[in-house]
Amino acid sequence: MQKIDRLGWADGRSFIAYGLRVGIRANSPEVLDSLVPLLPPGWKPSRSPDVQQLYSLVVGGDSARPGVRRFNLLYANAARVARSMDLDQVLARFESDLRIFVGERAHRRGFVHAGVVGWRGRAIVIPGRSFSGKTTLVRALCERGATYYSDEFAVFDARGRVHPFPTPLGIRDEGETQSTKWPPEKLDARVGVQPLPVGLVAVTRFKEGARWRPRTLTAGPAALALLANTVPARWRPKVAMATLGRVAASALVLEGGRGEAAEMAGALLRRVSAAAGGR
C-alpha cells in the first residue's frame, strides 16, 4: 500500500454508499470526474478521509519516452484489479468491483443479482446472472408501464422489501456480449423511489421458442433460487437466509423457461394485477 501511496495523486474524494465509506483517488482530476457517474445510486459525499475501501486509478497513456505508452491501472486498496491500455475497460472494472464491494458488505441491505420493476404497489423480481435475459425482460416490462427499479440488483431490506437501484440498463444487441448503457428515461420509464414488498419472483431464462408455462415454487426451492444469486451469501449467510426466507415465504415464486420477452412481460403483469385485485 505504501508503494501505491507514493505514486502521487492529483485529487481524491470520499463518499458513503449503503453505510460504507469508500475513497477514490486518481493521478488526473479529470478522470476523477468520470468516476462519479459510476458510483452506486444514492451515494453521498463524505468529508472523512477514513475509508473502508480505497480505489486508486493511475491513468496511463503516452509516456515522455517516444513510442512508449503506459497502462491504465486500478487498485482496490493494495490489490491491483485492472490493467489495460483501454481506459474504458478500467473504468468498467472500477464500477464492477465497487458494486461487488457494496453488494457484499452493505449495511442492512441484501443484494441479489436480479432485475426489478414495480407494478401496482408490488415488486416483480427476476433473479439471474448475466445473459439470462433479465434486462430484456425488465425493458419489456417498463415499455408496458412498469416502474424501473433495477436491471442489476434487487436490494432487500430486513423486512423483505425491495429498494430501487436504478443504474442505467445494460442493453445488449442480439449476439453481442458487450452492452450499451441506456438511462431509464430513454424508455420513457418512471424510476422507482419507494421500497416495495415483493409480489412475484420469476425464475426464468430465455430459450428460443419456449413458452412461459411456469410452475409455482414452494418456499424452500424459492429461497434457493434467490440464494443462488445473492451477492453476500457466503459473507453473511445468516442475514441472507433470513431476508430471503421472508421473501420466499410471502411472495409468489414462479419458475420456467420463457420465449419472447414481450409475451412474458404481459403475463407477469397480469399475474400481479390479479393478485393485487386489479388495483
Binding site: 453488494g103 448475466s130 456480449t177 434457493l224 444469486n229 445473492t230 457466503r234 415465504a249
Partner: protein
C-alpha cells in the same frame, strides 16, 4: 452404523444455518458452502433427529403430522437423503428390508407420492459468481465468472478455466 427401528439419528448443529420456512426449511452448510431445501417430510424428520427419537417413533410422528399411515420406510428414505448431503452427525445405512426403494418404487409401494422426501441442493455462489460475466480475464480477480453466454467458467491467473481447474489452481 446403526440400521434398526431403534436407531436415533442426530442432526448436525455445528456449522449449519437453518431457516424455517412455513412447513419447509433451508439449511446452509458453512463447511461446504452448499444450501439445501427440505420439503415438509424431510423437515419433519430432520427436526426429530435429536438423538432421542427412534426411527419407529419418527414414523408415528410423521403419520400424525402428514395424516398418512405410519411407514418406517418413509423415515429411512428421508434419512438416506439427509445422510447423503451430510446433514446428520453420522451416516445411516438403510436396512435392506426397510427401504430398497427408488422414488418410483416408493410411490408404487407406499402410495405416498405427495409426502416423499425432497431435498434440493445448490452450491452457494462465490461473491464474484453473482456478478456479471466477463469475456476477458486479464486484470480480473480470480474466480470471476467468464465465457459468456453460458458463464460456466471462472477466471484464474488471467485465464478462463473450467471450474475444476480454477478450483485446483486458484482456490475458487
Amino acid at each position: 452404523m446403526a440400521h434398526t427401528s431403534d436407531t436415533m439419528p442426530t442432526a448436525r448443529t455445528d456449522d449449519v444455518v437453518v431457516e424455517d420456512l412455513l412447513d419447509e426449511s433451508v439449511i446452509y452448510d458453512l463447511k461446504t458452502n452448499q444450501a439445501h431445501s427440505l420439503n415438509q417430510t424431510a423437515t419433519l424428520v430432520w427436526r426429530h433427529c435429536d438423538g432421542h427419537t427412534t426411527v419407529a417413533q419418527m414414523a408415528t410422528l410423521l403419520a400424525k403430522e402428514l395424516d398418512v399411515p405410519a411407514h418406517e420406510a418413509l423415515v429411512w428414505m428421508t434419512l438416506k437423503r439427509l445422510s447423503r448431503v451430510h446433514l446428520l452427525t453420522a451416516p445411516v445405512t438403510v436396512p435392506a428390508a426397510s427401504a430398497p426403494y427408488s422414488r418410483r418404487d416408493a410411490m408404487r409401494a407406499l402410495g405416498l407420492a405427495a409426502v416423499l422426501p425432497v431435498i434440493a441442493s445448490i452450491v452457494v455462489p462465490h461473491v464474484a459468481h453473482a456478478q456479471s460475466c466477463v469475456t476477458d480475464c486479464s486484470g480480473e480477480p480470480n474466480c470471476s465468472p467468464c465465457d459468456p453466454p453460458d458463464c460456466n467458467k471462472l477466471c484464474c491467473a488471467g485465464g478462463c478455466l473450467p471450474p475444476g481447474q480454477a478450483k485446483s489452481s486458484c482456490g475458487c
